[in-house]
Every structure is written in C-alpha cells, then in structure tokens.
Amino acid sequence: MDTRLKHLAEQLDAGLIARREFLRKAAIVTGGTAAGLHALRGMARAQAKAKLRVWLFKSFVTAGNDVVAKHIEAWAKEKNVDVEMDWATFGDREQKFVAAIEAGNPPDMAEMNIYGPMRYKAALRDVTKVASDVAGSKGGLLPFAERAMKLDGKFLGVARYSMTTVFFIRKDIMEAKGLKPPKVYDPEVVEFAKKTQDPSKDLWGFGQTLNRSDDGDGFMDAILMDYGGGVWDKDGKPALGTSFLKQNMAALQFSVDTIKKYGIQPPGVMGWNDVSNNESYMAGKLVTTNNGASLYYAMVSKKHELAHKTLCVLTPGGPAGSYVGSSCYNWAVFQKSQKPDLCEDLIRYLEDEKRFTEYVQVSVGQAGPVYRGRVDNPYWKSDPNFDAMVQNILRSVNIGHPGPMTPAAAEVRGQKILTDMAGRVVVGGLSPEAALKEAHARVEEVFKIRSKA
C-alpha cells in the first residue's frame, strides 16, 4: 500500500481526521499517482521505437528475398525502427494493395511492379527528391524505367531493378543439329523448331502459350509490334483494328499458325498458365521458350541438369524489329505514411551499390539494371547468358508503345484482351479478322471508360 494512504488510514483509525477528510485526501493521493503513471507511460511511449510497415514482393528468386529482408532488418536495428515486413506474390499483391488503399490502411512503403506508380497514383507520395538523388548517383535511369516512374513530372516510385524475358534455347539440341539461334520468329524460329522437335518423344520445338496469362499477353503485345502494329497508336488511341489492322492481322495469323499450322507447339499449350512453360522446359519437353530470368535462376539454384545446356538469347522479332517489355520494380511511399523520411532513408539504404550488388549476385539475372551505371557492373559479364538479359532491358519499351504508357494500356493487359483475341481464333473458331474486330471493340470500350476518368 502507498505509505501516504497507510498514514491516512492510521489517522482515521486514531480519530484524528474525519471520514470525509480521509476520502478527500485519499482521492487526491490516488488520482495524483494515476496521473503521474499516465505521464510516465506517455514519456515511455515517446521514447519507443518508430514503427514502419513495409510490403515486399515475394519473388521466385527466394535467395533475393532473403537478402532484402536481411538488409531491412539491419537498417531497422541501426535506426532503432520496428519494421513490420509483409510479403505478396505475383498472384496476390494487387489485391492486397487495392484492399489496403480502399480501407485507408496502406503500408508506409511497398515494392511495386512497373504499373504500381500509375495504378496507385492517387494514393502515392511524390518521391522526386530521393528518386532523383538515387538516379543521379547511378548515371541516370533507363528511358523505359523513367517513363514508368515519372508521372506528370513527379516521381512516384524509386526504380530498383528490371525483370525481363529472354529466349531460352536447349543449347545441346541446337548444337547437335548444327543450328544457330534464330533472330526472327518467321521463318527462323519455325524452322528451328521443326528441325529440333520430336513429337513422338513429346519434345516440342517452341513453347509459347496464347492462353490468358501474363506470359501469353506479353508475347502477343510484343509480336504485334514486331510486325509493325500494336494496340495503340503514337497518340495513345486504339489502333488494334484500325490504323494497324494489316500488321496486326499478320502478327495474329503467325501466332495462331505456330499452333494450328506449323505444329511446333505442344498440344496442351492453350491450357497453360504462367508456370507451365517453366515446368515443361525443365522437364525436357521444350527446345525453346520465352520466359523471365526466373527460369534460369530456378535451374541454376537447383543445379538442374539443363542449366548448363541452356542458352539465353535476345527475344526474336518480326519484320519491323524485336520489341520487348520489361518490368521495373520500384519502391513507392504511400501518402498516408506518417514517416516518409524514414521510408526515404530506407530506400537510400537499400539502393546503396554495395547492398544492391549483394542482391543482384544471388538473383542470377533476375534483378536487371534500370540505372545506366549498373549496366556496367562486372556481374553482367560473369555468365554469357546474362548478356541477352541486359540487352533486352536496354531496348525495352513500355506498354502502350508507340504511344504513352496509359492506364488504358495497363487495363488491356490486365483484362487479357490480346490472349482472348488469339484464343478466340485458336480454339473459338473465329477468323482472325473477327477476333481482331472483337478485341478492338473491347479496347475501344476500355479507352472510352478510361478517358472519362
């Protein structure tokens, strides 16, 4: 018992103070103690660690995930910050962002893909200062990355690395047949595939789904441009079935022919998802496929027998060139964050060259450069397969090419309109003209809706 209360009780017992007096003084003592404790708690809270919520991308490159987590923990310890890390994969990150933003409870900062700054623009903080500082110290951003990070003159994301796709070839089979890597799809990839495949052994020359998937949609978007067409014109208006109709028809026809006419793709390819070609390639059932560097990482990290039998080359093209879309992962800070300075400090810490190099080295080609200064990192000369990855990143174009990168262009990709178009021809019985017309109507609708926004 508090000694003051004890003393008062003794006085009451001895009849020195009245009961009312006892109650009054006891109330003052206990109230004062409670107020003091409350003040002490407040002071203790003021000295407690700052808390930061960071959402990270859980990539297939698990070693890279571990390195990022380690770096963040080291920074948190150094700065006496309590960091709550949360991970999201390819499949659930957008849902998490949407839910958190709509609930008004986003994290302080997050690792986003190339669409993130544009999609969540309304909820993101201007990070021009830190983005410019980081870019300035690394020789500047590559053009495709700058276009994605900088919106209306403000940076909404600090670029980190690029994931790109390359053309995977079974080097052993190619050499056994005395062939060279193909540079264009038609006729080189077709001929290459025909000469190397053996359907009787379930070995197929080319594995590229046209089903609803990111892989399929990326391929369709690129091949339209390879043939001189595209979904959008240079002003960002729909051109799929209008000004680029002829070129797009040729590209669509070729894509469909790889399955229906040339017979160079496995029979189940229209049922594939984003990992099916990885599985098929690693199972030894494909001679060539388009995929991200994560496939190479998976083979190298697992010491897969095909790792050293694989050649990564530039993505083949068409009559108008070879177009590749690469992602640009980046750090974004949310407007609701109460600690933007801490977020920026963490970004600077993570983008420090020493730490980033550690990340790159475990990523086996997946963490491609987005800054000019990082292109010359000796790491990219350490494996012949890395050259195609860097070169593909250097020539990357954004969605919406040759026009600007727009929400409508992102939505067309998000709704898988291009793979639906191909699928309607391959399995839906539509003519390429009808499928193009149908897809163009959907693109027009998206454009109209987004224009109203």
Binding site: I101, P267, V269, K285, T419, G428
Partner: protein, 332 residues
C-alpha cells in the same frame, strides 16, 4: 394513462375530472389513437422489452449485411477507381454490361457451369446415398472416404487437378495413353473449350457431390422402415419404392441442397480461376472470375460490383421459387 375512480360515472372524453395523476390532473385524456396502443396491439404488452432483446441482432444485421450490401449497390452505380472517390453514373455500368459480348458469354458459361454441375452432383449424390443406406460392409468407413473431397480445401484440390489435367506432365493422360492404352494421344483437357468446361465442371462435381450424398443419406435414414415394408407388401418394385417412398420422403432435403448448391456453384471462383483463369479464349469465363478480373486486373471497382450484382435477381428468383415449393410441400 389516467385512472378514474371506480365510483366515478363514465364521462365523455375530455371532460374535467378531479382525479390525481395521469397526463393532466383535471382532464381525462382521450384514448390515444397514437403509436403506443398500436404497438401494444401488434407486438404485445412487453414490446419494449422485446425491442431491447432484438436490438443487438438488428444492429448486427444492419451493420454486417444491410450496410455492406447497400454500399455495394451504391458502388455498382458509380465509376470507382482504386484510391479515387466514386462518381455517380446511375445504371450506366449495368447498361454497358448488358450489351457487352464478353459479359454475355460469361453469363452463359456461368449457367452452363452451374446447372451441369448441380445436375451431375444430384445424380451422384443420390447414388452415393442409396449405396450407403444399403447393407454394405464398412459403411462408416466408406462414408468417411467419400467425404474427403468435400473436406479438402478447394485450392488444394484445384491445384492437384491442374497437375492431373496437364497435357504433358499430367497423370490423367499418362494413365489413358500409357497405362490403359485407351487413347493414342493425350487430351488437352484445359486447352480446348469443350474439354476445359467439362474439366472445371468435373472438379466442381468431384468436390461437391459428397455434400449431396451425405444430406440425402440423412434424409433417407429418417424415412420410417414401415413405409418400405408396406410398399413391399403391396408389391412395389425397387424403383417404385424409390419413386413413391424415398423421393417424397427426402423432397425437402433435396430442395434445400439444390438451393444451396446452386448458389455456391454459381459463386464458385477458386476452381475456375486456378484451372483456366477463364480461358482458353474466355471459354470458361464465369461471373465470379470476371468480377475478380475487372476489380483487380482493370481496377474498376464499380463495374466489378455491377458484374457481381447483375445476376442477383436471377438467383433471388431461383431461391424464391424453391422456397415457395418447399412451403407448399409443408402445407400439404
């Protein structure tokens, strides 16, 4: 209400009286045609206490059902992008969907998926229940085994079937081509529109028929054995006993199971999304997947909710018809 001395003669309403208490010491109040007598008449004399008891659940229902539903209806009539305030557009989203060919295909696919799945599940579930009511050995064991598909998480089942259906690496083609030699070449189960739809229906049936079977089984066990004995004495065949004793005995259960399964199947997302994502070429696109795609792929929340709500009247109609049917059955 004012009280009147028992000895007082009846007075016209509003006449001055010298009583104490009531609303006015000197005025006899008019019998109020107002709220209270009406409430007492409708809800009983303890209606205040009743309201008190009912209030928590009413608040809960309003907060957890009515408000979200009302807000969803409101959002479906807006142009709403992630992180931006909604803009009222009235019925624009619904009108646009009505004329959207891709949406129309999704509606047709949803009905195909739902009705085919529910029909097959009903037949299989009935078969399962009939087998389990017959005298077989290890009946409890078989009941447990048949429940496994229902108990297994949908995502796990769907991922397993994704592998099973794979053209090159899947076990189904391996069995059909290499083990049993039934086919010369494998089938692209998920790569052709017809087989893809059949595959997603098959997985839904595999997962859902035990629920039908167990529910029907419970109903069959409640039918008195004397009815079967009487039917047998009257010379009824097995089929006649099933037609005239079993089916009427489990009619209400069948209706409830059909009702629930129709709603669940219509809203099934995981199986279609994991197996085909609506492909190939939109051939298996159903409304839940389309809703998801518009919400998270296109990030147009207002239109996504409009997709989700579009078929609500149709589902409500099914529910009302089935409920009425059950009520009529009970009344008879």
């Amino acid at each position: 209400m004012a009280t009147v001395q028992p000895s007082s003669p009846p007075l016209p309403s509003g006449e001055r009286v010298g009583v104490r208490g009531g609303f006015h010491p000197e005025v006899r109040p008019k019998p109020r045609p107002g709220l209270e007598p009406a409430l007492r008449r409708v809800f009983g004399p303890d209606y205040r206490m009743g309201f008190l008891f009912v209030a928590p659940i009413v608040v809960l229902v309003l907060a957890l059902v009515a408000y979200p539903f009302g807000y969803a209806v409101y959002l479906s009539m807006t142009r709403k992008y992630v992180g931006m305030p909604p803009v009222w557009v009235g019925f624009e989203n619904y009108v646009r969907l009505t004329y959207d060919g891709f949406f129309q295909r999704a509606v047709v696919n949803s009905f195909t998926f739902t009705f085919a799945s529910v029909a097959i599940k009903t037949v299989l579930g009935m078969g399962m229940a009939l087998v389990l009511t017959s005298k077989i050995r290890f009946r409890s064991f078989w009941t447990g085994v048949l429940l496994i598909p229902w108990v297994a998480p949908t995502v796990v089942s769907a991922l397993n079937f994704l592998w099973i259906f794979d053209y090159s690496l899947g076990v189904l083609n391996y069995l059909l081509v290499h083990v049993f030699g039934v086919l010369a070449h494998g089938v692209g189960w998920l790569s052709e529109p017809s087989t893809a739809m059949a595959s997603v229906i098959g997985v839904n049936v595999w997962r859902g028929f035990p629920f039908f079977g167990i529910s029907f089984l419970a109903g069959m066990k409640a039918i008195p054995g004397e009815l079967y004995e009487a039917a047998a004495v009257d010379g009824a065949t097995v089929l006649q006993r099933f037609r005239y004793v079993t089916l009427p005995g489990i009619r209400n259960i069948v209706m409830i199971v059909l009702l629930l399964s129709t709603i669940w199947t219509f809203n099934d997302f995981a199986i279609v999304y994991i197996l085909t994502k609506g492909g190939p070429g939109g051939a298996t696109m159903v409304l839940p997947v389309l809703t998801y795609e518009i919400a998270f792929g296109a990030q147009r929340l207002g239109e996504a909710i409009a997709v989700a709500l579009y078929m609500l009247p149709a589902l409500a109609f099914v529910i009302i018809v089935l409920s009425n049917y059950m009520r009529r059955g009970r009344a008879r």
